[in-house]
Symmetry: C2
Amino acid sequence: MTHLQHLPLGYGGEFDLISAALERWGALASGVGDDCAVLDVPAGQRMVLSVDTSVEGVHFRRPWLTPEEVGYRATTAALSDLAAMAATPLGVAIAMTLPESWRSDFSRICDGIGDAVRSAGAHIIGGDLSRGDALSMTLTVVGHTASPLSRRGARPGDALWVTGRLGGPLLALRAWEAGGAPSAAARERFARPVARIAPARWLADHGATAGLDISDGLSSDAGHLAAAGAVQLVLNLDRLPTIADANVEEAAQSGEEYELLVAAPAGLDTKAFEAAFGIPLTCIGAVVPPLPGEPEVDTRRGGVRVTVPRGNDHFPVA
Amino acid sequence: MTHLQHLPLGYGGEFDLISAALERWGALASGVGDDCAVLDVPAGQRMVLSVDTSVEGVHFRRPWLTPEEVGYRATTAALSDLAAMAATPLGVAIAMTLPESWRSDFSRICDGIGDAVRSAGAHIIGGDLSRGDALSMTLTVVGHTASPLSRRGARPGDALWVTGRLGGPLLALRAWEAGGAPSAAARERFARPVARIAPARWLADHGATAGLDISDGLSSDAGHLAAAGAVQLVLNLDRLPTIADANVEEAAQSGEEYELLVAAPAGLDTKAFEAAFGIPLTCIGAVVPPLPGEPEVDTRRGGVRVTVPRGNDHFPVA
């Protein structure tokens, strides 16, 4: 990998940077220093893997976030894909392109990466540090699960469930792009999302048949879930859980939420879920058989079919 | 991952780009389209993983390579880390930052990636496509092996072996940086390196105790092997296999060779190796106990100890 302990000594101080990061991470970084990381997948389990890139100026702008948040958010966005599969995280590898202008913030970025990895119960298993003109991080996350929760599998008769409260990232981006400052609640949801690792396991254990994380916005991701399962989703906008200052249309469009959208049996014990994880679990619709000529997602407001713009039209996320 | 089939539709044509890539790759891309790739590690095997980034202007310059070579080389550099562990490749995930200026070359880059993945016997399992100002590719490679060939483990009494012929990348970079053109042989070694997957398995099966791929240059990587194994290496420069136009000093410094340097028993059947793989296997030294006050690598030329500059002083590889 040109892994962490193997960068050319003395080359522009990369080795010093990596040593500093490893020192900060301590026991969180494990098995680093060979050409590859070596991982053992528990017997009977399957390995799941995802890669996710965050680029300055594309996925975030520098004034919006602290360096810790930049590292934390990029790592959480990747870990969220493991949650989307109801997988248990194992390891995270970090490929970072570090421009001179970010060099003095490197340790703080690493602290944020470490926070995200630690809170997911994973380890840092390797990386690659390059020079470049914009800060860019590609996080590779590896986990395991006996039965991955796919996007495919939603069955007519399932209910449609969402975790947490939506709308924060859209409001935060809208405020920043207009030159203002978002509310504390909206900013927190953008800057400090949480990968829903344990809630995803709970949902899988309680019969979830399909799911994904809301990275493109609920309206778009519901379409993905419907298409993958060859079903129609009836989505009741009135039920959408929102942060205090967002309306349901905003909640439906807001991307990079990193909450979970799952098809699962009706009648889940939402009180037990909220008690366990401190966030709501909300039934927002139903899975029905596909109807020829009908939209994949039948979105309703006050019982009337409405059209919600697809997510990701707020900030040009690539 | 914001994996390949899951990019926001219609967003600046990313979806079209990804569809075109998937079409070109055909059956080479497998299991793409969920939040994570799902892989099965054969029973009794361990999983190995590496990430490797190639950035335009840092690891290569655009005029040097065709778009196919840009994709092929970045992918092979990553796959070479699997060879360094004597692992069998399973899957490759591709995170690419694609500037507008490279957009028309995207399909050709993908063809090169596909060539490298196909020749390693792997599959494309996912990716992430972002906008950005410079072409950057982070390749995540996953493989498996019952017994990873580590950098640690060289034993006094082992011989030191190297695959292939060295010096090409250094001569190619030197020619390009001086405004000229490299020889065809030197250029080929830079533009079309080969991940030594099968030769690595052969070496592991014939008793190799430690190894790595030569990415920083033989002189540097010998130091890594010695340090990891807490041994001294005696390196006989006169024995170094070189391409036609390189001398042994150039061969010792040349980085990004992606040949293998291993500690293994003396007396390996080099004729059988060459017959099997079409490249030489050369004994270039020996592993001895560490000597206090002595260098980790005792480099000799005509029986006399010499100093060879460390690799990677040719081009600022981060």
